[in-house]
Amino acid sequence: MDVVSVFIPCTVDLFLPHIGEATVSLLRRVGVKPIYHMGQTCCGQPAINAGYREQAKKAAKHFIQVFGDDEEVVSPSGSCVCMVKYHYPELLSEEPQWRNRAEELSLRIHELSQYLVDILKVEDLGASFGGKVAYHESCHILRGLGVSEQPKKLIRAVKGAQLVPLNAADACCGFGGEFANRYPDISESMVRDKAGDYLSSGADLLLLCEPGCLLNIGGFLSRNHPGKKVMHLASFLAHYQETGNNGQ
């Protein structure tokens, strides 16, 4: 059985652990054995985004120590995968041994939908949902990783689900980590537009693959449109299982 190492972003670990559980559950469904390294903490994005490169380097090295020997690493977050793939080699560019390890790791780390569709060649995860769904294209996943078709393929394979177009699907939702708290007026205006596009799409549910976007859009909906839901694709697929074997 293939073994895959699961990298659970700190946002998921602390605030959205069910996404991690869903990820594990889905991997098991497709016949892969997920392992979880206790030593993982954070990919270092908060540090590099705040300009604390020395601290980010330490986080990077720790990450590489933890995941360095894994054949495949999978994560339900595009921004964290981008961090490892693109920022680690640059961060560690002055230390050739670390840089090489970072470059090697960058070939073996994948965002979840990318892993399922491109590597495992699986699209049908046995889910069923009788309703309309819309998909928000998160910035790091779309522009950072070039992943767009993969989540949509997974959605289209869900029995009964109808993927409806979302206006400005690839427009940024206004999260941007610290941005949302530091520039709340602008961020609010952006997430309001995103929520508006969701509402006018006619979708029953909004799906996405990025925990940060989920916190942002979900947080705004919770406060302003309590009935409208947004889910991470992993949670959605794990929860709406045909066989009644619901997720957590």
Binding site: I8, I48, R143, G177, A180, N181, P184
Partner: protein, 488 residues
């Protein structure tokens, strides 16, 4: 131009109240136009990538290309003046005007002339300046900064333009027809073009191999500024140089498609020195002013210097989700949108422009659009890192002590998972103090920006980490009991 970069947040707030729906509606239209225009290339991605290589080479070879450009421009008969800073450049041009008894100049749109405060310097010295690009003309009369680097007056309501023209350019019949208003401007400015003795223009590209100056425009005002008067002054910031004419034309193809969705702008004029003695029009003297204004300092930083690749197409503004919300005023200086966010901090210093490289979600739209291959998000991170290290060359502002302490602690925890998990357990009850029904709603302090309009799930009582451990234990227990059962 007055620097208001430190008022970013206030101005952004004000601008948000105006709810620029036209920017959001326009964004789709502009995007389709750009994509359609780029699709006229057999391979648009390759064409964009080639543009990036040209500009990367231009920056890498900057000093030698400038020398080559100078040599060839001089042998074409042009004159050249090198200016260290804004003051040297604008005072030189003032002197040229005074020496020639110039009463007024006509100007084409040139952001570097805004950078050096040329109009103010000329006016202070009794030389009237007339902006002749319609958008620049309008904002000059209104006394407001540019809203967009390509369409500086695009946000001005038609009624305001009408009132302005009635007051300032003798528009007789009130009209709300932009075409009629444009016609009135044409008539007014035509007289200026007719009698002008000194025309000032910017430079889109300076071609090293031939000493050629290239200008790209749709209205024709730059051609007038260059061909009607006896003296032509072309002002360029020093990064505008490109190796060859073929390179320049490839970039012009990209510039026009990215900027306005055109294959080519209406006029592309290329100057090789002043007019020949037997020509009846064209300048008798062509003076090129090369402006440094901090660029040779920026050039020392091998990462930051790539911001100078910018060809001023403005496509990054059109694609930016933040610009789309707030418009151009908040950026507080000559350059707005993502290109302003990478350039203004370098030219003005990081200390004065703290918000410009932080008011971004790092969404990467700008980077994906840029025909010069600028990696704006990486540059924003670079400037932030300079604030942490307190870099003097970029005039950084050292980050606050509390933040530095936080990241020191964060680093300790992130490399020690037990400490990390213990920290999580420690912090949770404080964070979740205000939680109701699993959600945090009213949290003040450091995070009130978020909570003003958003909830947040409470920190999970059992993190994924905890749940995994528990699940392993359960599995182990059940395996154990299975084994025991089997034994029986």
């Amino acid at each position: 131009m007055e620097v208001k970069t430190e008022q970013f947040s206030e101005v952004a707030k004000e601008e948000l109240r105006k709810a620029y729906t036209f920017l959001k509606a326009g964004a789709t239209f502009v995007r389709i136009r750009r994509e359609t225009a780029l699709s006229t290339f057999p391979d648009a991605a390759a064409a964009q990538a080639y543009g990036a290589i040209i500009r990367a080479e231009a920056i890498a070879r900057l000093p030698e290309l400038l020398e080559e450009f100078e040599k060839n421009a001089l042998s074409n008969g042009a004159k050249m003046f090198w200016a260290r800073d804004a003051n040297e450049a604008s005072q030189y041009i003032v002197r040229l005007a005074k020496e020639r008894g110039i009463k007024y100049v006509t100007k084409g749109k040139s952001m570097v002339t805004e950078e050096i405060g040329l109009n103010e310097a000329l006016e202070k010295n009794g030389v009237k300046t007339w902006e002749t690009d319609l958008g620049e003309f309008i904002i000059q009369l209104l006394g407001v900064p540019p809203f967009h680097i390509v369409g500086p007056a695009m946000n001005i309501p038609v009624a305001k333009v009408r009132d302005l023209f009635m007051e300032k350019i003798d528009l007789k019949e009130p009209t709300s027809d932009p075409v009629q208003l444009g016609h009135a401007a044409r008539i007014f400015l035509r007289d200026k073009f007719h009698r002008v003795d000194m025309g000032i223009a910017g430079v889109n590209m300076a071609v090293a191999e031939t000493g050629t100056i290239v200008n790209v425009e749709n209205e024709g005002n730059i051609r007038f500024n260059k061909s009607s008067p006896r003296t032509q002054i072309s002002v360029m910031s020093l990064e505008k140089v490109v190796p060859t004419l073929e390179d320049a034309l490839h970039l012009v193809r990209l510039l026009c498609r990215n900027c306005t969705g055109q294959k080519l702008s209406v006029y592309v004029s290329m100057d090789n020195g002043p007019k020949k003695s037997d020509e009846i029009d064209g300048p008798e003297e062509l003076i090129i002013v090369i402006v440094d204004n901090g660029r040779s300092r920026i050039y020392q930083d091998t990462i930051a210097r790539e911001a100078m690749r910018c060809i001023r197409c403005g496509a990054c503004l059109n694609g930016c989700p933040v610009y789309r919300q707030i418009g151009g005023y908040a950026y507080g200086w000559v350059y707005s949108g993502p290109m302003g966010q990478v350039l203004n901090p370098l030219l003005l210093g990081l200390e004065k422009t703290q918000d410009l490289y932080r008011a971004t979600t790092l969404c990467g739209s700008c980077k994906s659009i840029c025909p010069a291959g600028i990696d704006h998000p990486s540059l924003f991170l670079h400037y932030r890192a300079k604030d942490v290290s307190g870099d003097a060359a970029l005039r950084a502002k050292k980050t606050p002590m509390m933040e530095r302490i936080f990241f020191r602690l964060w680093m300790w925890a992130v490399t020690r998972y037990r400490l990390w998990n213990w920290g999580v357990r420690f912090v949770r009850p404080f964070v979740n103090k205000e939680a109701h029904g699993g959600m945090l709603r009213e949290v003040g302090g450091l995070f009130k920006g978020w909570f003003r309009s958003r909830d947040l799930p409470a920190m999970a009582k059992k993190t994924f980490h905890d749940r995994w451990i528990e699940a392993q234990k359960t599995e182990f227990r059940s395996q154990k009991s299975e084994a025991t059962t089997e034994k029986i």
